[in-house]
Symmetry: C2
Subunit: 256 residues, 2 copies
């Protein structure tokens, strides 16, 4: 139980074990399907569905008080799993047409979750995370990502230069008119792009060494889009600019 508490609260503990925590039957079920589950814990009396019990992992029952006390939500669901992080081996940035979303200094786990979710929905090859960003493997981020962390590679780099070294053109997003930014609706978003979103309060520094800047024209007040909303919009626009997602899979208009 002490270990479980550390895995909830301590980024380093999670990293040392190479794990993350999935909460609730839906996310645990996804982790089972993805072959990532190591251990399942359930709250006494709230026995999970059969497919979560039959597997190569260990299943523990915890008394109610203990179960609730290790969880980080007020009304936790009755089931959680300690899961292996998917290997970065899935990360292959070989093609010239891949794009990635870069979270650079994101402080709120909910926003990082939305960024991950947007990237997955938009067919990004990976989400890249720089050191000033909260842990993509925290329980809160995993929840907010609705499981997206399990479905696309999450790459931690030392700095933006690492992304440039991989041959990506860095495209910074900004909410400030800086005379250099392209209107996202008119920008060429093809090729090997790394779209960078910055800190909630400060945005990206104007000095950030990106190759290009884009911005979303909008009405209302200056700060009317937050970073999660901006990431959703930018991601879907990038996706649209790449043929695959301009159409649903059967080639007819509509969501797949």
């Amino acid at each position: 139980v002490g270990r479980l508490r550390r895995l909830f609260g301590d980024r380093r503990a999670r990293r040392e074990e190479g794990v993350f925590i999935a909460q609730g039957e839906v996310l645990v079920g996804e982790a089972v399907e993805a072959g990532l589950v190591r251990e399942i814990f359930f709250r006494e009396g709230q026995i999970p569905s059969g497919h979560l019990l039959a597997g190569s992992w260990v299943v523990h029952e915890l008394d109610g008080k203990t179960f609730d006390s290790v969880n980080d939500t007020v009304s936790p669901q009755g089931c959680l799993a300690v899961c292996s992080r998917p290997g970065e081996s899935r990360w292959d940035s070989g093609s010239n047409e891949v794009w990635v979303l870069v979270a650079h200094g994101i402080q709120d786990p909910g926003n990082l979750g939305t960024i991950l979710r947007s990237a997955e929905a938009a067919g990004a090859r990976a989400v890249v995370v720089t050191p000033g960003t909260v842990d993509p493997w925290s329980p809160k981020t995993v929840r907010a990502s609705a499981g997206a962390v399990m479905h696309l590679p999450v790459i931690e780099v030392a700095d933006l230069e690492d992304v440039v070294q991989l041959g990506f053109v860095l495209v910074g997003t900004t909410s400030h008119a800086n005379g250099r930014s392209e209107n996202i609706w008119e920008a060429d978003l093809s090729g090997r792009l790394a779209v960078v979103v910055g800190n909630e309060a400060r945005g990206l520094s104007g000095d950030e060494s990106v190759h290009r800047w884009i911005s979303i024209p909008h009405e209302g007040r200056a700060e009317s889009l937050n970073v999660g909303m901006a990431a959703s919009v930018v991601s879907m626009v990038v996706a649209r600019s790449r043929s695959v997602t301009g159409m649903s899979r059967d080639g007819t208009p509509g969501r797949d």
Copy 2:
């Protein structure tokens, strides 16, 4: 204090007084600028900036324990205001080119806040709320909207038919391929549109009497965009389709 607690917790109490609660100096400052503040409460010792103290409203100091107990956040900011709701008189749907965003059965105050914020950023004329939706005037929604509730009309209607009566074409958003939905990137989004977003879990019913359906093509799993993210994307695409927001205010590309 009992009254303040009711205003936090009880939709009807807020409606009867015609008020909402703004929390923190930023939102309270916006409410001051918008001329909406009736009363300001601050936590003892945390005296707010001067411009929040000099006005026609009453200022109360509350002892720390009381202040924290009426608030609905774990670490409340030291200042809150009881504010008048802006009048619906600002709502003029006369022009043929206005569009509105309709929240139909939204259950999460955070999602409704994102919807309000998206609508404001995208220049919607109003947000319309149907009875199955959470209170747009709850403290949590006001926070999540980042104050957008103060800046665009929020119209509560009895049902979608009321919106049709105002001459709007109802456009439902769906994440399910239903054979009837238009790809949002190819759809004509001009004219007098009411874009409807539905419940988090169920979406809009396929039987909903909307005139048209649109969907956002995406990769990844079926539920990879939540309703807040979808509202952000749809809103900005509608904004783009209307010339005003295709460009920033000075007519050059870039965010204003």
